[in-house]
């Protein structure tokens, strides 16, 4: 095994060095990039994506993909927005529980269809993507939730908090990231998710309830997308049925994949996913600083996904060759 192969094994190191290079280059081109303001922008941009990415990472590790999360986000955001119109005094904890529950139900529906009928998850969630988006329009009647419909204590959740006035969503997403890390690395369930992803048949033979594990992943993914709906309402102060969460699933998937999570399942880490999302957040903030028009953002994200997929596949190929898996 050469040094290069050893380097490839620590996937987080690769993405970390890309981030460092990117930040250094960006701040040489324009010193404004290294100011507090732009880093504040980075860390305000990522919590929403980060929370969704934690769920998506679990789903991808167990060999599935959920592309309906954007619509789940929109649905829970609309539901909580409509509730705020009725009950402006709804407390933050209660809204968290409500959005988490809404998301959980929708995620479990995805998981149920995938596990019960054994269809590829992307096709199923392509269907539920539209289904949930249609529900958003039906529930809201096509009406937007405005800034003055959302109570003050919810908006301030994304701006400040009791803890050194760090935004509440940042603290909350950090807690979710840490919990996900503990679950994935240090619990039986987490190890079962990895086992299911790397070889479902072997996992089944070993006595792991594959259906239950898959359902759990989809449920958590939906639940976190639902929580992200509350973050969205808090962060942006409006919820539009036609705009909210459209295409966000591709950003999340991009972040998870460039974080080193293999789409063939069974590998990936919370740290890698965090770094992947961080890179996307930095790119998001760096584009205007570097005078690159915002229209290029989507193309850059797309390019990142394709490049990351290709690299991932090359790494897998190399690994297999090393272990003698490929004899061609």
């Amino acid at each position: 095994m050469t040094l290069f192969d050893k380097f490839l094994r620590i996937r987080e190191l690769g993405i970390f060095s890309i981030i460092v290079v990117f930040v250094v280059v960006a701040s040489i081109i324009d010193p404004r990039f290294m100011t507090i303001d732009s880093w504040r922008a980075v860390f305000l941009a990522i919590p929403l994506i980060l929370v969704m990415a934690m769920g998506q990472m679990m789903v991808i590790i167990c060999r599935h993909v959920d592309i309906s999360i954007g619509s789940i986000l929109a649905f829970s955001a609309i539901v909580i927005g409509l509730l705020y119109i009725q009950f402006p005094g709804l407390s933050l904890w209660l809204s968290l529980i409500i959005t988490a529950f809404v998301g959980l139900v929708m995620g479990l529906i995805n998981g149920f269809i995938v596990t019960r009928f054994n269809v590829h998850s992307i096709i199923v969630t392509l269907g539920t993507l539209s289904l949930y988006r249609g529900l958003v329009f039906i529930v809201s009647g096509g009406r937007q939730i405005d800034r003055n419909d959302i109570p003050e204590h919810v908006v301030s959740f994304s701006q400040t908090s009791f803890f050194f006035s760090i935004p509440g969503i940042l603290i909350f997403s950090a807690i979710i990231v840490i919990i996900t890390h503990l679950v994935m690395r240090h619990s039986v369930l987490g190890r079962e998710i990895y086992a299911t992803g790397s070889n479902p048949v072997a996992a089944h033979l070993k006595g792991i309830n594959v259906t239950k594990v898959t359902l759990f992943c989809f449920g958590v993914c939906g639940m976190l997308a639902g929580v992200a709906g509350l973050f969205y309402a808090s962060r942006f102060g409006y919820v539009n049925p036609g705009v909210t969460g459209v295409g966000i699933e591709f950003i999340v998937i991009a972040g998870v994949i460039i974080g080193g999570t293999s789409i063939t399942g069974g590998s990936g880490s919370v740290l890698g996913t965090f770094l992947g999302i961080l890179l996307l957040g930095i790119i998001n903030v760096a584009l205007p600083v570097l005078n690159i028009p915002g229209e290029f953002q989507k193309a850059i994200y797309g390019l990142i996904i394709v490049v990351a997929l290709s690299l991932d596949q090359l790494i897998i190929y190399r690994m297999k060759k090393l272990s003698g898996g490929i004899n061609a």
Binding site: F117, I122, I123, L126, F137, I263, V306, L309
Partner: protein, 326 residues
């Protein structure tokens, strides 16, 4: 009666093969949707109206036919909608750059072909699963279209180019004729040529296909390229119909295209399906959309019904195949 019939069927496997087929679900659904639409509004029973409402979906239908071939061979292409937008935007940019209509069309078709080729190379050479790769290229192609066109509508085409959906032969619009001819040609290709049979074998068992001397990778590459080319044609057709090209055209069209293929009884895991089913499913989508519009259900709310239909179609097809053709 039903029990007797099912026993009779189990004694005659050939007959069962022909009767228990997912395509008949599509046909039955088509009849149900026609009847219920006529119940909604008597004006619906007008062939010219149905033909007219079919034209916007012809672009999707053309791609659905190629996608049927791709899914039969065990792969999938979800970047189709983005390729429509990208080729349309490239066509608009090229024409507005003043290089003339024929050259712009060639450039658009060429760019579509290249996009498809790119998908195909990554799938066949790097062995990236097509379902996840085309999710990536979906974002990439749409992003390139957005970078090229920004938020502008690229228009200013000559009048002979605009409005292909208003050119008729009798009461049939030209796009519908294009679609029908294309469906017949591809259907013939799939059912009656050796290459069609090879597609089924590739989808059923790629390993066996490889050992039987079929050039699996080359055929898959060709299919993806073809998909790009047809998306180019669809992009030009859409531009002609709308008279402008925008980066966000055909957003979410993957749903309807995949729905057409799935409703037509093509097996999601490959190896089964045919063009006739997709052709019938095209008309189901057309009539469903037209019927929902006549019933004044909002376009956005229609998404719920389409999404639910996609899931039901997959479940039903899987169920029927598991019963009839083990």
């Amino acid at each position: 009666m039903l029990k007797k019939f099912s026993i009779y069927l189990s004694e005659n496997p050939t007959l069962r093969y022909w009767i228990v087929r997912p395509e008949w679900v599509a046909v039955i659904l088509l009849i149900i949707s026609i009847i219920s639409s006529i119940q909604l509004s008597p004006f619906f029973a007008d062939l010219a109206f149905i033909m007219d409402s079919a034209t916007p979906y012809v672009e999707y239908g053309l791609i659905a036919i190629i996608l049927t071939l791709i899914i039969i061979s065990g792969e999938i292409d979800l970047s189709i909608a983005s390729m429509i937008a990208l080729t349309a935007v490239i066509f608009g940019t090229a024409y507005n750059a003043g290089i003339g209509m024929p050259l712009s069309m060639i450039i658009a078709l060429l760019s579509g072909t290249l996009c498809g080729l790119f998908n195909g190379i990554l799938v066949t050479q790097l062995k990236i699963p097509s379902i996840i790769l085309t999710i990536g290229t979906l974002t990439l192609y749409r992003g390139i279209a957005q970078s090229l066109a920004s938020d502008f509508s690229l228009g200013g085409y000559p009048s002979w180019f605009i409005g292909i959906d208003y050119r008729y032969v009798g009461i049939i619009p030209i796009p519908v004729i294009i679609f029908t001819v294309f469906a017949i040609v591809v259907g013939f290709f799939l059912s009656s040529t050796i290459y069609g049979k090879q597609l089924y074998l590739i989808g059923t068992n790629p390993q066996t296909a490889k050992y039987s001397g079929i050039k699996v990778d080359r055929i898959k590459l060709l299919l993806f390229t073809l998909s790009g080319l047809v998306c180019g044609i669809a992009g030009i057709l859409t531009t002609s119909r709308l008279a402008v090209a925008r980066f966000n055209m055909a957003t979410g069209a993957e749903l309807e295209i995949v729905l057409m293929v799935m409703l037509g009884g093509t097996y999601i895991f490959g190896g089964r399906g045919n063009i006739f089913g997709t052709f019938v499913a095209f008309w189901i989508v057309v009539i469903l959309r037209a019927g929902l519009n006549v019933a004044r259900i909002k376009i956005e709310s229609q998404l719920t019904i389409l999404g639910a239909m996609l899931i039901i179609a997959i479940i039903l097809t899987n169920y029927i195949y598991s019963k009839s053709q083990k």
